[in-house]
Symmetry: C2
Subunit: 335 residues, 2 copies
């Protein structure tokens, strides 16, 4: 039975998500509608992707009776309001990261989903890559012993991208790419609460954070060291070190290989001839598989990106931003 | 003209230093005496290495008129007193890292050297590897553009080594291996003063630091992220990222290769058939070449490891230890 997707946004990431879905069986995933702020954008996107219905504005998408689940790819400051709109109209939701701009809004959105008994998940697509699933399996099986250390740096030169640097759009290295490094160390030390978080970073001339690093110290001498940077390209390899061995994930946000000690395992992408805007976007499909599975099973949250972890991520992003002095424009700094 | 070395200590690192010197021309470096606390240890060491003179106790070495420069490889808590003893007796000094246990002692030792107009250098041997010199050249030539980010982690499982974990011996991850990661980022951002240092770490059951990480934020959005850990083996690769490229140094404390972007350059060790206790110890000879050069030129400090950087390293080690709550036994915590 095909899950019937509605797409909120006609932007670059929405294009990639819809294109990624084409790599999955048609009898399992179907895009039935798209909405954008302007009718012309929605129409153009619908034509490009052969989507039967387009809507002007998200409210019309929310009322489309044919849509079961909405993928939210709008700009960061609109995530929470579009998510709540969809939930209040009975739609399940897959919401791009960062889920919301702060912890308070994340809790509000999740509260609506619980009340409405609908599925919602933050689109932490990295988690669903087979390489991450293999890392999880190796850790659980004790293949690298007791995990003591994780490190990851995510640096990409995107300091000319308005989404990232415009303060009015809530631009922020922490919100844009910091969420990836935080979810990574959360993935490694799943369920643990840090005893201390030390943070340092830098604000650009507009007061937007463009480089942030953090040290998480967990119980039993487990440490995570994470950095994000929007001004420079970093190696972007994640490392997980245990008492008995090491796992490395190159291009850690969408890794197609995993190195266990010195042995490389390959996990090729879902074949897809589509045109993508971002690196390895065909892998956006993995999270769609999880969404369908959860909805078919009647689950309201995923075990891989549970609500508690989404709230934790939002809280950590608040902490990192605040420690480096990065303030969001009103009304988003009230948490 | 051979520089006439005296060796203070008959321990593992002293063995490696003397063995490393054998890789250099005899007409340039000659070991003329060794001293240890016990006469038998000194005698055994002298026999092993064909050293003409041995002394019981360091005071006798200090008075040996044939010795020009003393290599100090004693335990960390004795560095400052043995260094001062040698200086007061007119000997130049190469002192193992950490130079002293805290900044106050480092300043005291250097003050004596200045008063006596003698050469003294902290044995930051890594700095003299040809790969480090090449990294310096590449950075200065602008080959990787404006340097924005450096990271390094040094983790080796040495938590069963008494020197490292015995509080009475001033065991400390920061003092034992943290000095390496600190000197590395100091090397990269030479001369800059950090605007902020954020620290987090862990103490073992005896109150000895066994894992410490730090974030250094420098002016103009330059960041260094460094970690040390004595409980687990980490990848130990150092990375220097600029606006135009990346330098990597594997086994960063004694690297035989340097990767500029994806191009690997090799820097083989000085050939040496001797038996060493530690990895790549033949490279201890590089710093001896610098010591000889400086002394022949009448210099009182090296440009590669100047006094100011040794004092800075000591101050940073104090800061890191204090931030994680690691207190040295009396009387070393008075700074």
């Amino acid at each position: 039975m095909a899950l019937r997707w509605g797409i909120a946004s006609s932007g670059l990431i929405a294009n990639d998500f819809v294109t990624a879905l084409k790599g999955l069986p048609k009898e399992e995933h179907q895009v039935v509608a798209v909405a954008a702020r302007s009718s012309s954008s929605a129409e153009k996107f619908a034509k490009t992707h052969n989507i039967p219905t387009f809507h002007e504005g998200y409210a019309n998408l929310a009322k489309d009776p044919n849509v079961q689940v909405v993928y939210i790819g709008v700009l960061n400051p609109q995530h929470h309001e579009v998510a709540i709109l969809m939930l209040e109209n009975g739609k399940h939701v897959l919401c791009e990261k960062p889920f919301t701009l702060n912890e308070k809004l994340a809790r509000q959105v999740i509260e609506v989903a619980r009340r409405k008994k609908l599925f919602i998940m933050e689109a932490i697509w990295s988690r669903f890559f087979p390489s991450y699933q293999e890392a999880r399996r190796l850790i659980k099986a004790g293949e690298i012993g007791d995990v003591k250390y994780a490190s990851v740096a995510f640096g990409v030169k995107i300091d000319k991208v308005e989404r990232v640097t415009n303060k009015d759009l809530c631009g922020s290295a922490t919100l844009d790419i910091g969420v990836y490094i935080l979810q990574f160390q959360q993935f490694v030390f799943q369920g643990l609460q840090p005893e201390k978080i030390a943070v340092a970073g830098h604000l650009d001339e507009h007061g937007v954070d463009d480089a942030v690093s953090a040290i998480f110290v967990y119980p039993d001498n487990k440490t995570a060291v994470v950095s994000c940077n929007t001004t420079v390209d970093l190696p972007n390899e994640a490392v997980i070190v245990g008492s008995k061995g090491t796992i490395k994930l190159p291009t850690f946000w969408s890794p197609l290989t995993l190195t266990l000690n010195s042995k490389v395992k390959e996990f090729p992408l879902i074949p897809n001839e589509g045109k993508f805007n971002y690196y390895n976007s065909a892998g956006l499909a993995y999270q769609a598989i999880e969404v369908r599975k959860c909805i078919l099973e009647g689950k309201l949250e995923s075990d891989v990106v549970p609500h508690a972890e989404t709230i934790q991520l939002a809280a950590w992003m608040d902490k990192l931003r605040h420690e480096v002095g990065m303030k969001l424009p009103p009304p988003f700094e009230d948490n």
